[in-house]
């Protein structure tokens, strides 16, 4: 494999790692190249991205490299954001929102564990509608992003504060509430 192919791998790694980014060291481990070579490749990529026909740039923060859109295109991205909105929240989005509301701050993986299904799409939906936001990174491996609800969330549901949410955050009790309620309803429908 020659250097230009490794460049492709490094670009792919940066792409896949998303907003989490990667350190040169991590990339060296994954590609089994030495850090100097990685740095060299990163510089080449950085140079490539400066070309006016390219749509991304490389950023560096706390030794993590990641790809990002170019600020000079931000007008278009703003249009993208306002364009993408649908009026009503889907069941998947509502579920995801409920999970974030009661468990914030919470990571994507934790949300998916509770829902039992992949949740990229609903997370993105409620993120882009400003109902949740990034509230920091969890101090575990990979430093995953954590989400929490926003002020708009309160407005949307007509709440004055997050404390006005029904107390589903008492982990042990909440199962019982829904269960007893549903048992009660089962009885009702039988009548």
């Amino acid at each position: 494999m020659d250097l230009s192919q490794y460049k492709a791998v490094v670009e792919g790694l940066l792409f896949v790692s998303g907003s989490d980014g990667l350190t040169a060291k991590q990339m060296a481990v994954i590609t089994e190249l030495d850090e100097d070579t990685i740095e060299h490749i990163l510089n080449e990529l950085k140079y490539d991205y400066e070309n006016a026909s390219r749509g991304m740039q490389m950023l560096e923060s706390e030794k993590h490299y990641y790809l990002a859109s170019k600020p000079e295109h931000s007008d278009y991205f703003r249009k993208l954001r306002t364009n993408a909105h649908t009026s009503k929240l889907t069941q998947a989005s509502l579920e995801t929102l409920a999970i974030v509301a009661y468990n914030q701050p919470i990571t994507r993986t934790e949300i998916e564990e509770i829902r039992g299904v992949k949740s990229d799409r609903p997370i993105q939906t409620i993120l882009s509608r400003g109902l949740i936001e990034e509230v920091g990174r969890k101090n575990t491996i990979g430093r995953p992003m954590m989400f929490g609800t926003t002020l708009d969330f309160l407005t949307y549901f007509g709440l004055r504060s997050i404390d006005e949410l029904p107390p589903l955050n008492e982990q042990i009790d909440e199962d019982d509430v829904s269960e007893e309620a549903s048992l009660y309803f089962d009885k009702l429908t039988d009548e």
């Binding site: 792409f15 896949v16 790692s17 998303g18 907003s19 990002a68 859109s69 931000s74 991205f77 703003r78 954001r81 306002t82 909105h85 009026s87 009503k88 929240l89 069941q91 509502l94 579920e95 929102l97 409920a98 999970i99 509301a101 009661y102 994507r108 509770i114 829902r115 039992g116 990229d120 993105q124 993120l127 882009s128 509608r129 400003g130 990034e134 708009d152 407005t155 949307y156 549901f157 007509g158 709440l159 006005e164 949410l165 029904p166 107390p167 589903l168 008492e170 009790d173 909440e174 199962d175 019982d176 509430v177 829904s178 269960e179 007893e180 309620a181 549903s182 048992l183 009660y184 009702l188």
Partner: protein, 244 residues
């Protein structure tokens, strides 16, 4: 011996799969299935499954009945073979053959997917980028487009799903607040308001039993036609009104 049978039977995805297996094993022409033979073989498998106390899915039994029906129809004296076109339709095996061929198409396709899967040539996308700007543009917010009730429901759906794998247990808890008392309280709140009371405001104490009692009280009041519930559109807020 028994073990090898079990392995085989477990490996069948269904009656069609078992039939295809037999057809392959006996090198049978799928367009000209010897029904008597295949029925005998098929029934032997089912019998073995039953002997081994395996849970024979009902689909296997339905297929057995179908095979027997086709077999008996084949035994009837061949009335008149008019012309070639009619023959196809009159063949009692035609429908089964069509199903087998249709199913085999996807069995083969599954095999190909499996090969692709084995090549481990996945690709990966990335999550959409969050747009961070100082002047953050917020999408227009419509108030009360969903109620907490919707969310509560959504949450419940999550818990219900999670519980699929757990045994169902019922806890009967002592109810501290008499329903009658809570009914009076709720009725009073509703009667005092002119424009109705939002559903969620009736849950001021977030204790488990209080929520349930309030809920039951509301339902009882609705049943007795003392209050009614209003929701303009599916995702609108629930409003409680006194019955006039």
């Amino acid at each position: 011996m028994i073990e090898s049978y079990q392995v085989k039977i477990d490996g069948f995805e269904g009656p069609l799969d078992l039939l295809l297996h037999l057809i392959k094993q006996y090198e049978i022409d799928i367009y000209d299935i010897p029904v008597a033979l295949i029925t005998t073989q098929y029934l032997e498998y089912i019998e073995t499954m039953q002997k081994l106390d395996l849970n024979v899915a009902s689909e296997f039994l339905v297929m057995a009945a179908t095979l027997l029906a086709i077999k008996s129809e084949m035994l009837l004296p061949n009335q008149e073979i008019t012309d070639e076109d009619d023959y196809e339709e009159d063949d009692p095996r035609a429908e089964l053959v069509a199903r087998l061929i249709e199913y085999r198409k996807y069995k083969d396709a599954a095999e190909q997917l499996k090969e692709i899967e084995g090549e481990e040539k996945e690709s990966f996308t990335r999550s959409p980028e969050m747009i961070k700007e100082t002047e953050k543009i917020k999408p227009p917010i419509k108030e009360n487009t969903a109620s907490i009730y919707d969310m509560l429901e959504a949450m419940q759906a999550v818990f219900n799903r999670k519980k699929w794998s757990q045994p169902m247990t019922t806890t009967i808890e002592k109810i501290e607040i008499p329903i009658q008392q809570r009914m009076e309280e709720v009725l009073e709140i509703v009667e005092l308001s002119d424009n109705g009371v939002p559903f969620e405001t009736l849950f001021p104490y977030y204790s488990k039993s209080h929520i349930i009692v309030t809920f039951m009280a509301m339902l009882e009041l609705m049943k007795q036609k003392l209050i009614y519930c209003e929701q303009e559109r599916t995702f609108d807020q629930l409003i409680l009104h006194k019955w006039r």
